[in-house]
């Protein structure tokens, strides 16, 4: 052990002993040890060369930050350790850096180079973490560096790094909003990403940076819908909320036809009280007219897709996801389907009280519009004595909204028990709820009123007061029938002290003084006595009462009124003084009194409409449900309005992705199966319009849904596959459809080689050794398993393409009448994927039967294998029989030698594979293809020269020549390859693109190209 480290140990020991004295205990902190000294210790530890000391120091610093203590003066000492080898030290330094970089901009720059280095690291996780910290440093000067890093990371190979890039976008945007345009470009690029990992994060970035650019979503809409179930929970919430808004701009209201019903069946009976009949009539007429104009509603398949793909998420364990789906259904689904969300929302009520609070707020809003769907769950909203008051009040709100003629008696019974609760706020709310039930449901108005009147004799004054207020409102509806209640209440003025209740009683008596002509003046007399001691609100009502009585019964009350007005004249409150002066001028006739006094009676005793007792949640649904703005009933910053449905649907074709540029590979097994079952699509299918294709897509999805499920359930061995597989049915469909098309293409290719009109991208590459089929497909992280499975998939699906060349194995003369030919069928050999299928055709040219045809004694190079064809027992004269055998040439051009035996003779034969006939199907993206192509040079390259005659100067001619020379058939591909072709043609005659696929152990060269007008490329 060196002396240096010994010293370090000693120091470490001493410092850890003295640990508590460093003063990160808040009590001992500021006063006893000076900040300067304390931080000196930490600095020393940070400067030491021992990781454990550094770690200890960093832990203390982080603890200081956590307690909100200022540790910014340590910045230079800490930032030095940004490149520390110890992971934990490094992480804590990052924590520190992100916290204080904003304050110490210049020093923070010292750390940037470390992160820039990290961005180039071969490990994706290090790249991601470097980007994460770099983008969290809020220093304006590094904006260009950040921008560059984000752009680079956005095209990183690793989806995790791309996800981090998406996270970095809003950080940069908040640092420098000027970068918006450039960031939108990055967002656009990332939106096109196909991985679930990225989807949630990029939509979050979209929402923060450019939520108004709804056009960026079009092309990604279907993909987002399909990926949704596999996105992590938090991303799901963001995506669903965004898609809700999107759908509101792009689809038609599914409830246009039922809207008028909704109004008619509005069960609250509000119309009778405060809607004039004329208005209603007009509304209905307008509605009817609008209806007549509208075509019958057909739901856009994309709208349906969204609803279908979000529904399973109602089962999520995450309350936020459930709420997001619920609001999506509430805002977007046809009325008949909204009901599914009720159960899930009721389930959330079991959760923490904060979750309950938010859910109940939303349920309250929903129950106003769609009461029916929560009615079966009425009892779930019953209040427990253990609920917090705010939950109780919300439940009460929901119960009130749910009340109707059939359930009102049970609800009222519940309410009666609630009144006995010890929670007074809740009791008051219950009484108001009873009042609302009474106004809304005519049948129970009297019952409620009686019940409330009984409450007037309650021991608790608050209950009485609240009842008075509610009764006052109820009485306004039919005052003439209830003069005895008014009398009863008049008596209460002796006892009840709650100002609001007193004021209500006085107002009632004043308003209906004609119904209680004897009592009213007496009440005024009593009130005049206590006037000076009353609350302001009561005083105002006393003045009101006096005025009204003066107008109706001036004989008895003239003096009293004068007295009250005089008292009010000298009141401390100017409102009351003003009111008194105003009323005196109005009612007491003097010579100066103006024209108004004639109308005093009309002014004071006008018929007042009954108050409307309505839910505070009415009309809250113009805010997107589940949002903060909805909860607060006020627009929060950054809230995106939920747009109204468009009158006419915007063009649905904007969502068409002309050619799905990818196929999903995780569900390969299943796809293989399905593929076989499916009939080919008719030709017209291909040309069908966008909506139609979307339609058929959804149809087929629902049709085969059960099939795929049972398939999955049947095999427990599929365990290595993710959930993804089973759930992205829709996606599969899409892929499948284009696979089918491709397959058809291939078949057609047999008949007429160049399929120029094809819009599909499909490559056939004939390599020296293997058959490469290139399909544009989704990037797979696990390329190995992908490949094997794709091979399997292709067993049944790839038909030989181009004209198949036949070779002679045994001439009929040497074979004594038995002629044997073989060809490379370009079919995958099903028993063993490594083998090449060789099709062998036997012709019996003799007059006798040939028996027991079989293979014997193969002589093979090491590594080569052969799979014999099953013995042909009998080949009648003149007949022909075809069998398939598999040979693994081991990627060499060595011949396979074996004996071909009949029942009488043996023939030595050999099969040597020609260049370009050893092949295997492989999926790869176009980019991968190009990349591999780039790697194939030199040894792997085969060049051939073709001389073109005068007559084949057109592209078609060249193509034909090349296809035959290279032994390939054609398909189309992207524009870049096409342009490649044109360049070559200008060159004159030479074709030498090398193409291939590198798999570590073999290299292939061949030729691949594309032709044809490509409708995809703009």
């Amino acid at each position: 052990m060196s002396s240096g480290s010994g010293f370090g140990d000693e120091k470490g020991g001493s410092s850890s002993v003295g640990e508590p004295e460093y003063g990160h205990d808040p009590a001992s902190g500021g006063i006893f040890s000076s900040d300067y000294k304390r931080h000196d210790d930490l600095k020393e530890m940070l400067d030491s060369n021992k990781d454990s000391l550094k770690l200890e120091a960093m832990k203390r610093i982080v603890a200081m930050i956590a307690r909100g203590k200022n540790a910014s003066d340590l910045f230079p000492a800490v930032v030095k350790n940004v490149a520390c080898k110890n992971i934990e030290v490094k992480k804590l330094v990052y924590v520190y850096l992100v916290r204080y970089a904003e304050e110490q901009q210049d020093l923070a720059l010292l750390s940037i180079s470390t992160f820039q280095r990290g961005l180039k690291d071969p490990n994706q996780l290090i790249r991601a973490s470097a980007l994460r910290v770099l983008s969290s440093i809020r220093v304006t000067i590094i904006v260009p560096i950040m921008m560059l890093a984000i752009k680079e990371a956005a095209s990183d190979m690793s989806p995790y790094v791309r996800k981090t890039a998406a996270h970095a976008i809003p950080k940069l945007y908040s640092l420098d909003p000027e970068q918006k345009d450039q960031l939108i470009e990055v967002i656009e690029k990332l939106l096109a990403d196909k991985t679930t990992l990225v989807a949630g994060s990029v939509v979050m970035a979209f929402e923060e940076v450019c939520p108004e650019r709804i056009d960026l979503i079009h092309k990604n809409y279907r993909k987002l819908c399909n990926l949704l179930i596999d996105v992590e929970e938090w991303g799901q919430v963001v995506i669903i909320n965004m898609l809700t808004r999107y759908a509101r701009t792009q689809f038609l209201n599914p409830n246009v036809n039922v809207k008028s019903d909704l109004i008619k069946s509005n069960p609250l009976g509000e119309k009778a009280f405060y809607g004039s009949d004329d208005e209603e009539g007009k509304e209905e007429k307008a509605e009817a007219a609008a209806l007549a104009k509208r075509k019958p509603y057909v739901m856009d398949p994309d709208h349906r897709l969204l609803l279908r793909n979000t529904k399973p998420l109602l089962q999520s364990r995450n309350a936020a996801v459930v709420m997001a789906v619920a609001q999506l259904y509430f805002h977007l689904a046809p009325k008949a389907e909204v009901g599914v969300i009720a159960k899930a929302l009721v389930r959330l009520m079991r959760s923490h009280s904060e979750v309950q609070y938010v859910v109940l707020q939303n349920v309250a809003t929903m129950t106003i519009k769609r009461r029916g769907m929560f009615e079966p769950y009425l009892k779930s909203f019953y209040i427990r004595s253990t609920d917090p008051t705010q939950i109780k009040i919300l439940k009460l709100e929901v119960l009130t909204n749910l009340a109707n003629e059939t359930n009102i008696s049970t609800i009222l019974r519940e309410f009666q028990t609630y009144i006995k609760s010890m929670d007074k706020d809740f009791v008051a709310a219950t009484i108001q709820a009873i009042g609302r039930c009474a106004t809304n449901i005519g049948e129970v108005r009297d019952t409620c009123l009686n019940g409330l009147v009984q409450l007037l004799s309650n021991r608790d004054e608050l209950v009485v007061a609240e009842s008075v207020v509610v009764i006052k409102k109820l009485l306004q509806m039919q005052p003439e029938q209830h003069s005895d209640i008014i009398k009863h209440m008049a008596k209460l003025t002796d006892n009840i002290q709650v100002p609001m209740a007193r004021a209500s009683i006085l107002w009632l008596i004043g308003e209906y003084c004609e119904h209680v002509p004897k009592i009213a003046p007496d009440v005024l007399r009593k009130m005049a006595k206590t006037f000076t001691n009353e609350e302001d609100i009561v005083k105002l009502q006393i003045i009101n009462l006096a005025a009204k009585l003066y107008l109706t019964n001036s004989k008895q009350t003239k003096l009293l009124t004068q007295y009250v007005l005089n008292l009010a004249k000298y009141d401390q409150n100017y409102d009351i003084r003003d009111r008194a002066r105003f009323i005196r001028q109005l009612i007491v006739p003097t010579d100066k009194s103006g024209a108004l006094s004639k109308y005093a009676k009309k002014l004071f005793l006008a018929l007042k409409p009954a108050p409307v007792l309505e839910s505070p949640f009415k009309d809250r649904d113009h805010f997107q449900l589940g949002s903060l703005s909805h909860l607060l009933n006020a627009k929060a910053g950054g809230y995106q309005e939920l747009p109204d449905w468009p009158e006419t649907a915007p063009d649905p074709s904007v969502r068409n992705v002309e050619v799905p540029e990818w196929t999903k590979c995780s569900s390969r097994e299943k796809r293989k199966e399905k593929k076989v079952e499916k009939p080919f699509y008719s030709d017209s299918e291909e040309e069908s319009g966008p909506t139609e294709s979307a339609d058929s897509e959804s149809d087929s999805a629902s049709g085969s849904g059960s099939g795929s499920e049972s398939e999955e359930s049947g095999s427990g061995s599929e365990s290595e596959e993710s959930r993804e597989e089973s759930e992205s049915e829709q996606e599969d469909k899409e892929d499948e459809e284009d696979k089918r098309k491709k397959k058809k293409k291939t078949d057609r290719g047999k008949v007429k080689a160049p399929a120029v009109e094809s819009p599909e991208r499909f490559f056939f590459i004939f390599s020296r050794f293997r058959f490469l089929i290139l399909e544009v497909q989704r990037l797979a992280s696990d390329s190995c398993s992908l490949r094997t499975s794709c091979r399997r998939w292709h067993k049944k699906t790839i038909a030989p393409s181009g004209s198949v060349k036949t070779y002679e194995l045994l001439h009929r003369i040497t074979g004594e009448g038995l002629g044997v030919e073989y060809c490379f069928s370009r079919q995958p050999f099903s028993p063993d994927a490594h083998m090449v299928a060789v099709q062998i055709m036997f012709t019996n040219n003799t007059n006798a039967e040939t028996k027991n045809l079989h293979v014997e004694d193969p002589k093979l190079q090491s590594g080569m294998r052969i799979k014999e064809f099953p013995e042909i027992e009998l080949l009648p004269p003149g007949e022909m029989v075809t069998v398939v055998m598999g040979i693994d040439f081991c990627d060499s051009t060595q011949a396979a030698n074996f004996q071909l035996c009949t029942h009488i003779r043996k023939f030595f034969v050999s099969i040597q594979p020609p260049v370009g006939e050893l092949m295997m199907p492989v999926f790869m993206t176009e980019n991968e293809f190009k990349k591999e192509q780039g790697q194939l040079m030199g040894m792997n390259e085969i060049s051939e020269k073709l001389t073109l005659g005068e007559k084949c100067q057109n592209e078609h001619g060249i193509v034909q020549r090349v296809t035959s020379a290279a032994n390939v058939s054609r398909s189309s591909c992207s524009s870049s390859l096409k342009s490649n072709l044109q360049v070559c043609r200008k060159d004159g005659v030479q074709w030498d693109f090398s193409v291939g696929y590198c798999d570590g152990d073999w290299h292939n060269a061949g030729e691949g190209y594309s032709t044809g007008p490509n409708p995809v490329a703009p």
Partner: protein
């Protein structure tokens, strides 16, 4: 999204703060304290409080308020759910989520918060991923760390974040491969004084503790899946499979997790396993009241009702209670007026009872005679809904795991005692 987080203890001190974007001054919490003062009970603080520049969204767990600061529109449930997830993670890491535990592990807490949110947006919330990144502190590790100076930050990189099954960490190895499932059902009920059920529901969960090597793929099937009316799953469960066959098929996370929570259809009659007979009377003018309460088992299918705890909020007028419990102990808090009686196990032969007198405040009017009674109990080895697991199979791995299933029924929000007025008296 989430700007900052403040942890506030019950005495109103901010003991931890963390900022994910620019620093928000802790004075923003003053608005929270104001609301806290206004609220009569701690749980009555509104979860969402608007302030002039920010919004405060808080949850209360373990007597700690987790106050998140928000600056712009964000679904409130998103934040609430996340905060609860944070608490769950702390609990998972430290066993207890108390102020002391958080203060003791402040560095781990900070590291966790750093990983859980990036720029205010949740990044890694799966406990399996987090545990790969930051190892939970154990006594042994703490000791080792102080001696060797090693860290509790995972050495390897969090490959779990890249996996298709992010909830499961890779390279799991156990010598004993075990999978335990607890079926726990809770009865929520409101029962009338006369014993008739006003509302009763069964909510159940299946909590799992799976310690299996490698990447096992499990399927769990029920004898009577129809009972499950509404379910919510851990993300590992394959939804399609459930839809089609009512089988739970999943690659489990490593360790403890909640596989499923369910609701038993309310159409089924819920068996109420206990009954309460009580009689509380006060005489007008007298300062004494009688108290009588008897408990008994009912529909328990022969299983014992255990850990019974009865609590009741007596009327305010009650000064003291002088009672006699036939078994267990009772306490009466004269300040909060809360009567609790720890009964223990109910013996069907000799029913537990609590009898005695209450003294009332002199001159107080006759209090209400029907206080709410809240009952807690446990019944082992029984799921009250009758739900039964049929079998558990494992695919994908060769070894034979040890499997165990336990059933339990508990009282959820189980209250009785309030008298419901008869329908006719409403109509009258």
């Amino acid at each position: 999204m989430i700007h900052s987080l403040f942890l506030v203890n019950s005495s109103g001190d901010i003991f931890l703060e963390k900022h994910w974007k620019s620093v928000v001054s802790r004075s923003v919490c003053d608005y929270f304290f104001e609301a806290q003062e206004r609220a009569s009970e701690p749980e009555n603080v509104p979860p969402v409080i608007p302030t002039p520049h920010h919004y405060l969204i808080s949850v209360l767990r373990h007597r700690i308020y987790f106050v998140a600061v928000i600056q712009s529109e964000v679904p409130p449930l998103f934040v609430i759910e996340f905060l609860h997830r944070v608490v769950d993670t702390f609990q998972d890491y430290f066993g207890l989520c108390t102020e002391a535990a958080i203060k003791d592990n402040v560095v781990v807490v900070y590291e966790l918060l750093e990983e859980m949110l990036d720029n205010g947006f949740p990044l890694a919330t799966e406990s399996n991923i987090l545990k790969e990144l930051i190892k939970p502190p154990t006594i042994l590790r703490t000791v080792v760390n102080t001696i060797t100076g090693s860290t509790n930050v995972g050495e390897q990189l969090p490959t779990g974040q890249l996996s298709v099954v992010p909830w499961r960490r890779t390279g799991v190895k156990y010598t004993n491969n075990e999978a335990y499932f607890d079926v726990v059902e809770e009865i929520d009920a409101i029962i009338d004084k006369s014993g008739s059920t006003i509302t009763a529901e069964i909510q159940g969960v299946i909590d799992a503790c799976v310690k299996l090597t490698g990447m096992p793929d499990l399927t769990l099937s029920f004898m009577n899946p129809r009972l499950l009316d509404d379910v919510s799953f851990h993300p590992c469960v394959r939804f399609k499979r459930w839809e089609a066959e009512r089988i739970l098929s999943f690659i489990p996370p490593d360790g403890n997790f909640r596989l499923l929570s369910y609701h038993v259809s309310s159409q089924n009659l819920v068996a109420i396993p206990v009954y309460v007979k009580h009689n509380i009377t006060f005489r007008e003018g007298s300062s004494q009241g009688r108290f009588e309460l008897t408990l008994g088992p009912k529909q328990t299918m022969g299983k014992a009702v255990e850990s019974v705890l009865v609590s009741s909020q007596l009327p305010r007028g009650v000064l003291n209670a002088n009672l006699n419990a036939s078994q267990g102990t009772y306490t009466f808090d004269p300040v909060t007026k809360l009567l609790t009686w720890d009964v223990g196990k109910i013996n069907p032969q000799k029913l537990p009872s609590l009898k005695g007198s209450m003294s009332l405040q002199a001159g107080a009017s006759k209090p209400d005679e029907n206080p709410t009674i809240i009952i807690q109990f446990k019944i082992q080895q029984m799921a009250i809904s009758g739900l039964k697991v049929n079998r558990l199979d494992m695919y994908g791995e060769k070894y034979k795991p040890f499997k165990g299933i336990k059933y339990m029924t508990k009282a959820g929000k189980f209250q009785t005692g309030m008298q419901r007025p008869h329908v006719s008296c409403v109509k009258a």
